[in-house]
C-alpha cells in the first residue's frame, strides 16, 4: 500500500476541505508534517485510521475516545436544519492498482445548536481499472483485509508514543501477537482449524452412507432378469410340448376317423368338440356381460339414497321454492315492466306484484334451480333403470347357468365317446384312445404351468421396474459419496499439511525477524560493538546480548530500548512485505539526539514510504539534514485560536 493523497473535510479541527499529497517516489519517499503539540497531528493521524476503518470494525476499536468527529467551526457556521458533512477520502496504490476510499458522516443541525448525527457513516471503496474507469468494490471490508487488515494496522499506522512497547520485558506476549498477526500465522492457524472442522463434517456425513446397497441391488436385478429368461425359455418349451401333444392328438383323431370301426364315434367327437368350443366362447361373452353389468350396477345399491333425494327435491318444488316453469330472470323482468305473466299490467303493491316478488325472494338462485331440475329428472329415471338392470343381470346369469349345463353335458358326451373307444375290444383302438387321453391331460398340465409362469414373469418385470428406481437412486448416492470422500481426503490433507509446516514456518519467521531486527538495530545504534546479538527466542522475548554473552537489556538506555522496538517493527514490516507505509506520529520525541540522527538517516531506506508527524524540536539540525534528500513533500499544520481550526499549509 502506498498513500497518494488524503482529503480531509470538516474532520475535527480541520475546517473545510484540506488536502495532502504524499511523497511516493522511490528516492523521495518521505512526507514530513510539522506541527506544535495540539496543532492537529493526532487528528490527522486519526483521520487516516477513521477513513480506512471507521470508528470500530468487527469489534476492533479503531478510534478510542473520539469525542466529536465533526468540525465545530463547520457546525457553528451551519444554519439550523442544514446538513453538515464530515468526510475523509484517501487515494492509495496497492499492487499496481489505484484505490480510492471515502468515509462520510453527516448530520443535521438542530435548533439547540447540536447536531443530530446519523448512526452510520457511509463507506465506499473504488478501484481504477486499466482503462481509467473507476469501479465500485462490493466487498470493501474483505478487500481492506487483503490489503491492510484492521488488526495489524497499529504496526504500520504507528503511534510514536508506543515506541518502546516491544522492548519491555513484559512485552513477550505483545511481540508474539505482533508476529502472529503481521506474518499471517493467525491466518495459517485459522485455515488449519477451519479445514479440520470441515473435514470432520465431511467425515460425519460420509458415515451415514452405505456403499453396499448398489451392489446388492444390481445383483438382485440380475437375478430377476435371469428368472425371466428362465421362465420365457420354459414357456417356449412348454408351447413346443403342447403343440407336439396337440399334433399327436390330431394324428390319432385322423386315424380314428379313417378306421372303419371308429370313424362314426370320431366324427361324433369332432362335432361335440366344435360345439363345445362355440359354447365356451359364448360363455366367456356372457361372463363379460355379467361383469360389466355387475360393476356398473352399484346405483342399484344406492336406491335408498336416490329415493330420499327425489323426495327432498320434490318437496322443495311443492313448497314453491322452485318454480317449475318460471325462471328468476323472467320474473324480475316482469316486475320491472310491471306486467303479469299473462300480459296484463298490474299496479305497484297489488297482489300480483306481491306474488311475483315473493317468487323472487323465496326462489333459489338460477344455478341451483338448474341443478335441482336436472338432477330430479335424471334420478327419477333411475327407478326404471334399476328394474331393467336387475332384469338384464338375471337373464345373463340364467343364460350362463344354461351354458354351464350345456357345456357340462357336452363334456359328459365326450367322456362317453372316449369310454367307448377305450373299451373297444380292439387293442389298437383302446390304446390309441388311452394315449389320446394322456396327451390331453398333458396339455392341461402344460397350460396350467404356462399360466403360472406368465404370472411369475409379470411379477419379476414389476420387481425389475422397482429395482431400477432404487438402482438409480443408489447410483446417484454413490456419486455423491465419491465426491464427499474425495473432499474429505483433500480437506484432511490440507489441514495436515498446514499443521506439518506451521511450526517450521513459525520458527523460520521468528528466525528471520530476529535476523532483520538485529540488522536494523545495528544500523540504528552505533554503539554496535557493544552489542553482540539480538535474539528473539521461542518464548518471544526480545533480547539484546552483550559481548560477554549476557542479556544486555537491563543496561539499555531508554532510547536504545525505543530503537530496539522500532527495529522490531521495521523488521516485521520488511519481512511481511505487506508493503504498507510507515506513518509515525512523533517518533523522535523521546530519543536522544544521536539516535535521532541515525534513525532519520536510516528510516527512509528501511521503509517504502514514510510519513512523519513531527514537532520542530524533534526534527532539527543533523537529523533534519540526514532526512533532507529523501523528503518529497512537506506540510505545516497551523492552528488558529480564533477559529479553532487547523490549516494545512504546503511548505514546498
Amino acid at each position: 500500500m502506498k498513500l497518494e493523497r488524503i482529503t480531509i473535510d470538516n474532520f475535527r479541527q480541520y475546517c473545510g476541505k484540506q488536502r495532502v499529497d504524499f511523497a511516493k517516489d522511490e528516492q523521495k519517499n518521505v512526507t514530513v508534517i510539522h506541527g506544535v503539540n495540539g496543532a492537529g497531528k493526532t487528528s490527522f493521524f486519526l483521520s487516516i485510521n477513521w477513513c480506512l476503518y471507521g470508528k470500530s470494525l468487527d469489534n476492533v476499536k479503531v478510534i478510542d475516545n473520539v469525542g466529536e468527529l465533526m468540525s465545530k467551526e463547520a457546525v457553528n457556521q451551519a444554519a439550523i436544519g442544514d446538513t453538515i458533512r464530515t468526510s475523509v477520502d484517501l487515494a492509495f496504490l496497492h499492487n499496481g492498482e489505484r484505490y480510492l476510499v471515502k468515509r462520510t458522516l453527516q448530520g443535521i443541525k438542530l435548533i439547540d445548536g447540536t447536531v443530530n448525527v446519523e448512526d452510520n457513516d457511509s463507506f465506499t471503496m473504488m478501484r481504477t481499472k486499466a482503462d481509467g474507469q473507476a469501479e465500485r468494490i462490493n466487498n470493501p471490508i474483505g478487500t481492506m483485509n487483503s490489503i491492510l487488515p484492521v488488526n495489524v494496522r497499529e504496526y504500520f499506522l504507528f503511534d510514536g508514543e508506543k515506541i518502546d512497547n516491544f522492548a519491555k520485558p513484559e512485552a513477550a506476549a505483545q511481540v508474539k501477537q505482533a508476529i502472529y498477526l503481521v506474518l499471517k500465522l493467525e491466518i495459517l492457524e485459522r485455515a488449519r482449524r477451519h479445514l479440520e472442522a470441515v473435514a470432520t463434517e465431511y467425515r460425519k456425513e460420509l458415515k451415514n452412507k452405505s456403499g453396499q446397497q448398489l451392489r446388492d441391488l444390481l445383483e438382485q436385478e440380475e437375478k430377476a432378469r435371469a428368472e425371466i429368461i428362465k421362465a420365457k425359455e420354459r414357456i417356449y418349451d412348454l408351447h413346443q410340448e403342447k403343440e407336439s401333444a396337440e399334433r399327436k392328438i390330431a394324428d390319432i383323431d385322423k386315424r380314428l376317423r379313417e378306421m372303419e370301426n371308429t370313424n362314426i364315434l370320431q366324427q361324433q367327437r369332432d362335432r361335440i368338440e366344435r360345439e363345445l368350443k362355440q359354447r365356451r366362447t359364448e360363455m366367456e361373452d356372457v361372463v363379460a356381460i355379467i361383469r360389466d353389468l355387475a360393476t356398473s350396477g352399484y346405483y342399484v345399491v344406492a336406491e335408498t339414497a336416490i329415493k330420499k333425494a327425489i323426495l327432498l327435491l320434490e318437496e322443495k318444488r311443492a313448497r314453491g321454492e322452485i318454480p317449475s316453469d318460471y325462471r328468476q330472470q323472467f320474473i324480475r323482468d316482469l316486475v320491472d315492466k310491471m306486467v303479469c305473466v299473462c300480459g296484463r299490467p298490474f299496479c305497484d303493491g297489488s297482489e300480483e306484484h306481491r306474488t311475483l316478488l315473493a317468487k323472487i325472494t323465496h326462489g333459489l338462485p338460477d344455478t341451483l334451480q338448474d341443478e335441482v331440475l336436472n338432477t330430479c329428472a335424471v334420478l327419477q329415471a333411475f327407478e326404471q333403470r334399476t328394474e331393467k338392470h336387475r332384469a338384464d343381470v338375471d337373464s345373463a346369469m340364467r343364460r350362463r347357468a344354461e351354458l354351464v349345463d350345456i357345456v357340462s353335458s357336452l363334456e359328459a358326451e365326450l367322456d362317453d365317446v372316449s369310454r367307448q373307444l377305450k373299451g373297444s375290444p380292439l387293442e389298437v383302438i383302446s390304446k390309441l384312445e388311452r394315449n389320446r387321453e394322456n396327451f390331453h391331460a398333458d396339455i392341461q398340465g402344460y397350460i396350467l404351468e404356462i399360466g403360472s409362469l406368465h404370472e411369475r414373469e409379470i411379477k419379476f418385470v414389476k420387481d425389475i421396474a422397482e429395482l431400477k428406481k432404487e438402482i438409480d437412486r443408489a447410483r446417484r448416492e454413490e456419486k455423491r459419496e465419491v465426491l464427499l470422500s474425495t473432499k474429505l481426503d483433500l480437506a484432511q490433507r490440507a489441514a495436515d499439511a498446514i499443521a506439518d509446516m506451521y511450526q517450521t514456518f513459525a520458527d523460520d519467521m521468528r528466525g528471520k525477524i530476529q535476523e532483520k531486527t538485529k540488522e536494523i538495530f545495528k544500523k540504528l545504534v552505533w554503539k554496535e560493538s557493544h552489542f553482540q546479538d539480538v535474539k528473539l527466542g521461542p518464548d518471544f522475548n526480545l533480547e539484546v546480548i552483550d559481548r560477554y554473552g549476557y542479556s544486555a537489556r537491563p543496561e539499555l538506555s531508554a532510547g536504545e530500548r525505543q530503537v530496539l522496538s522500532l527495529s522490531f517493527i521495521m523488521a516485521m514490516s520488511r519481512i511481511s512485505d505487506e508493503e504498507a507505509p510507515l506513518v509515525m506520529d512523533t517518533p523522535f520525541g523521546r530519543l536522544s539526539s544521536h539516535h535521532r540522527n541515525t534513525i532519520a538517516e536510516q528510516l527512509p531506506i528501511l521503509a517504502t514510504q514514510l510519513v512523519l508527524f513531527v514537532t520542530d524540536e524533534e526534527l532539527r539540525d543533523e537529523a533534519r539534514q540526514n532526512l533532507e534528500s529523501r523528503i518529497g513533500a512537506e506540510y505545516r499544520l497551523e492552528f488558529s485560536p480564533r477559529t479553532s481550526c487547523t490549516e494545512i499549509v504546503e511548505v514546498r
Binding site: 470494525l57 468487527d58 469489534n59 476492533v60 466487498n139 471490508i141 474483505g142 478487500t143 481492506m144 483485509n145 487483503s146 487488515p149 484492521v150 488488526n151 506474518l183 499471517k184 493467525e186 491466518i187 495459517l188 485459522r190 485455515a191 477451519h194 479445514l195 472442522a197 470441515v198 463434517e201 465419491v482 465426491l483 474425495t486 473432499k487 483433500l490 480437506a491 490433507r493 490440507a494 499439511a497 498446514i498 509446516m501 517450521t504 514456518f505 519481512i575 511481511s576 512485505d577 505487506e578
Partner: protein, 64 residues
C-alpha cells in the same frame, strides 16, 4: 515475497492440496478482522471445485 514464501512452503505437497490451501488462506485473509468468520461455505466451495477436478482427472485416466 512473503506470499511466495508461503506458497513455497507447500511446494512439496500435491498441487490439489496446495491449491486448496492457497485458496483458503485468501479467504481467511479477507475475513481476518472478524472474530467468528463465516468461512465454512467458501471453504466448502473451494474444496468441492478442486475435488470435482480431481475426480474428472481420475475418470479420464481410467479410460483406455
Amino acid at each position: 515475497m512473503h506470499k511466495e514464501r508461503l506458497s513455497n512452503l507447500f511446494e512439496t505437497f500435491d498441487p490439489a492440496v496446495k491449491n486448496i490451501i492457497l485458496g483458503v488462506l485468501d479467504i481467511e485473509q479477507e475475513h481476518i478482522s472478524m472474530e467468528k468468520p463465516r468461512v465454512k461455505e467458501h471453504i466448502d466451495e473451494i474444496i468441492s471445485a478442486v475435488a470435482k477436478k480431481e475426480i474428472e482427472k481420475l475418470d479420464e485416466q481410467e479410460r483406455p
